[in-house]
Symmetry: C2
Subunit: 203 residues, 2 copies
């Protein structure tokens, strides 16, 4: 199979393939054009249809819009990530709601007892983290669907961010995300990707 | 903001929004039309461009095509998932490669020392699981981009599947996925989704 024919095997049109994956790139600089609450709501309205176990939807998004809120985040980032986060038009902390099960009688109404299956906190933390992380995959695609660029940052102190922003003890921070429109010199060279033969095996 | 205007705030065209999220549904039955290796390769060729930390791409996909391989999986599934998995045209076990760091000198060439930052296995397992799970989000979107339906199944014994299919000790099973074209009665009623006000907060 050649690179020219592969996109044509997909039902998704080529422009959408490019927007979401093939031409999309992690941005390292941003313009100062704001990302509006309406854009954030439109992204959530799209990606909330992605599947999660028990339809639990444990992902929570904390937007750090005030200067004071952003200043509280910076000390928890690795030093190489501070400058770009300080200048991104929107910074979001993505977290898992460990008590997502409380909403299951409403979200999974045909099995209201699912809430009780998740009475054990350790089980629930694992499920919340896993499903919120799958939803992070949907969200990164969704930000690009809005014509915006993302800069996901794993280089941060997750326990510190959890303590700083979620003192309620019911959330765990998973990822920090910069969002905006790419600025000058936003792109690094595209890094190599694994081939299908490296990733997919058959039994 | 009304449901009519939200989709128009996105750069992604409405047909693609429907294909990937709004009209897409978890399938509970499938036709017997096969899912080809070329389709699987086309899906991977799309979603491999999604971002991962250190460009590490730890997701691995094991396709269970033979009757013998599928028979080995069934005892590890919750009883309610066995019938639909036995009849799906394609069943995949999604796993994290715990030793993904071995490829970093090639995948992240500007920081070849990244491999050494991940020398500690516990750190690596956490990173491999997190990033492979984000990639599962991309993959579920990618299967739909191919015009196929997915049935993700969290109801399985992950430790048992890891032992059964990855005796090398370098992989951890994360999710079992049924893939195919929807059969008769494939859809349950759409379950409710959280509103943006439940998910997004601002500081």
């Amino acid at each position: 199979m050649t690179a020219a024919t592969t996109p044509d095997l997909l039902a998704l049109d080529r422009a959408a393939q490019d927007l979401l994956f093939r031409a999309a790139r992690t941005a390292n600089t941003f313009t100062d054009e704001p990302v509006t609450d309406a854009e954030v709501a439109a992204i959530h309205d799209l990606i909330r249809y992605g599947p999660t176990a028990y339809n639990g939807q444990p992902l929570r998004v904390l937007l750090l819009r005030s200067a004071a809120a952003r200043a509280r985040l910076l000390p928890h980032l690795s030093s190489s990530n501070r400058a770009k986060t300080a200048s991104a038009p929107l910074v979001a902390v993505l977290a898992a709601d460990v008590d997502f099960h409380e909403r299951l009688p409403e979200l999974y109404p045909h099995r209201p007892q699912a809430r009780d299956w998740l009475a054990d906190r350790a089980t629930r933390v694992e499920q919340a983290r896993f499903n919120a992380t799958v939803q992070i995959g949907y969200l990164l695609v969704g930000v690009r669907a809005a014509g915006l660029a993302v800069g996901p940052m794993a280089g941060f102190d997750a326990a510190g961010v959890t303590r700083e922003f979620f003192p309620d003890g019911r959330h765990e921070a998973l990822l920090v995300l910069n969002v905006g429109r790419p600025g000058p010199g936003a792109w690094r060279e595209r890094l190599p990707r694994l081939g299908t033969e490296d990733v997919v095996r058959t039994l």
